[in-house]
């Protein structure tokens, strides 16, 4: 149970970063932290106490396996997260070239 609470706490740490920080790079770091906590949660969903890797082989005694499906999902989610982070950073660098700052209080051409 503690693990799940810590996982939710990690998610909230990331959300705090996104909501309160004013630096674009710190916002991106916050999103990454949230993403890791969701990935961790998916891994926890598939975990079985005392389970081993789900590979069938001869002479296997312990037949409790962890669920492999969430692991496959997490691999996909990590790749998607990589694409999101890369695009965010690319846009942040372009914004820095145009505005000369990472501070979101000074990046406010769009209003209303």
């Amino acid at each position: 149970m503690t693990v799940y609470i810590l996982c939710i706490l990690l998610f909230l740490v990331g959300l705090y970063g996104v909501v309160t920080k004013r630096n674009l790079i710190k916002i991106i770091i916050g999103i990454s932290i949230m993403e890791y906590s969701v990935n961790l949660f998916l891994i926890l969903v598939g975990y079985v106490k005392g389970g081993t890797a789900p590979i069938l082989s001869k002479g296997l005694k312990n037949n409790i396996f962890v669920d492999p499906l969430p692991q496959a999902m997490v691999l996909t989610a990590i790749v998607i997260g990589l694409a999101t982070t890369a695009l965010l950073l690319a846009v942040a660098i372009r914004i820095y070239k145009k505005y000369g700052t990472f501070d979101i209080r000074e990046i406010k051409k769009l209003k209303g």
């Binding site: 998610f11 959300l15 996104v18 674009l24 916002i27 999103i31 949230m34 993403e35 969701v38 949660f41 998916l42 969903v45 499906l69 969430p70 999902m73 996909t76 989610a77 998607i80 694409a83 999101t84 695009l87 965010l88 846009v91 942040a92 372009r94 914004i95 145009k98 505005y99 990046i107 406010k108 051409k109 769009l110 209303g112």
Partner: protein, 514 residues
Amino acid sequence: MEIFVPLYVAIPLGCAFIGAIIGIFSKAFSRLFTSLVLAFMAGLSVYLILLQKFPIVYTVGGWKAFNRVPIGIYMVMDGLSVYLITIVNVIGFLSVFYSISYIKRFTGENYYYSLFSLMIAGMNGVVLSGDLFNLYVFLEIAAISSYALVAFGIEKEQLEASFKYQVLGGISSLFILLSIGLIYWYTSTLNIADISRVLSQKSFPKTIVFVEIILLSAFGLKAAMIPFHAWLPDAHSSAPSPISSMLSGVLIKAIGAYVIMRLFFNLFAISYSIAYVITVIGTISMVVGVLLAIGQWDIKRLLAYHSISQMGYVILGIGIGMLVISKNGNMDIASLAIAGGLFHLFNHAVFKGLLFLNAGAVEYVTGIRDMKRLGGLAGGMPITASTSMSASMSISGIPPFNGFFSKLIIIIASAKAGYYVLSILAVFVSMITLASFLKVQRFTFFNDNGEKWSERGITIKEVPFPMCFSMIFLAVLCIVLSFMVFPSVREVVLMPAVNVLLKSSMYSTNILGY
């Protein structure tokens, strides 16, 4: 027939990468190839909608269900999916054909067409997927390519809008992934039909309510419903015009409204409380969106706020249908409300796509988006002015155009269901919409603000053929779609989609076969 289902994802994906590579050497190849591919897919979807053989289920890799547990990834084409597929591909083809002239001013044209095809592939995948995690993956493909397309102009506004859109969209995607994890934890399956079967056998616990609320807010953000709408006016007004027309016309429906319908009708059992929340969100979006729109002077920003308002109509129709079903009311009224919502979804794709293309044409010729500095364009640009007039009349609900009939159906359905306040609000919002589009017409096309265009060094002439073709085609669709109120057309096009939502508990039986 089954082979067509994966092709809807495979063809645009292939087109994206072939177009990006060969496009380095020949820009013309990239333009023509993407247009031809999307024209083929638009034709194919019209053929499939006329064929009337639903549902078509394709299991990826041929993995059949084992001991009544579906193993492979299911792709499902039922009435609702084919309806959305038609919208995505028809509007996609017209936007890409319009881009042939419009995007010539930008560098990196081949990457534009590549990202466009990726977005189409993602949306087709979302609409066809019968598997919850697969739906998430396709949703991210569509969303990430749309983030990149919003920033395509790499000016200050585009980058800022794209960053906002990415942060909010990224957070909502994470919430979707979290809720998929929770659903998998509870039901041990990811297949939408199978989840629905498992949930119907269990009691209704608090976990599912929690998951429903997370999913409603996450997909509400993708569909730009009112408390979650902050990214939409920036992103939709800053993007290049054909992309604005795709985002407003198709993307918020395919990855927002469609998924809300699919999940809350077919995946979860319909409950009164969720139906109530959906109706309230739809009503608030409808009213507040139009009130925010009327004060705008940037033409594309005004249109973007109207997207929120018109999506409110769609969600309102769907919500009233859900309310009537959850109270075991008259199924005919529920059917009428859902049909109104789905009909308005198609109509909004057509007229809002057209209005953004018109705004793009005005910007293409004059380079100005501020309505205070425009005026007197009707003489020089007759095609743009007349198509814009028909789209404006359609969105504000003037009788021979399609917008009138769908709004009328929603209003009648809400009055019949006993929600008189909602029908009065819908009429009221329609009148304000008319007022704000009279403003657009007057200040953009008719009002002469004293300054001659020639004195400002701008020659007013009609836009090139590809742009005119797309605009005229959509203006004709604005009239032709009115025929959907006739029973013979409605039975073929609209009713299969309505029946999927109406007989919501039949979904898993139809897909799984037991």
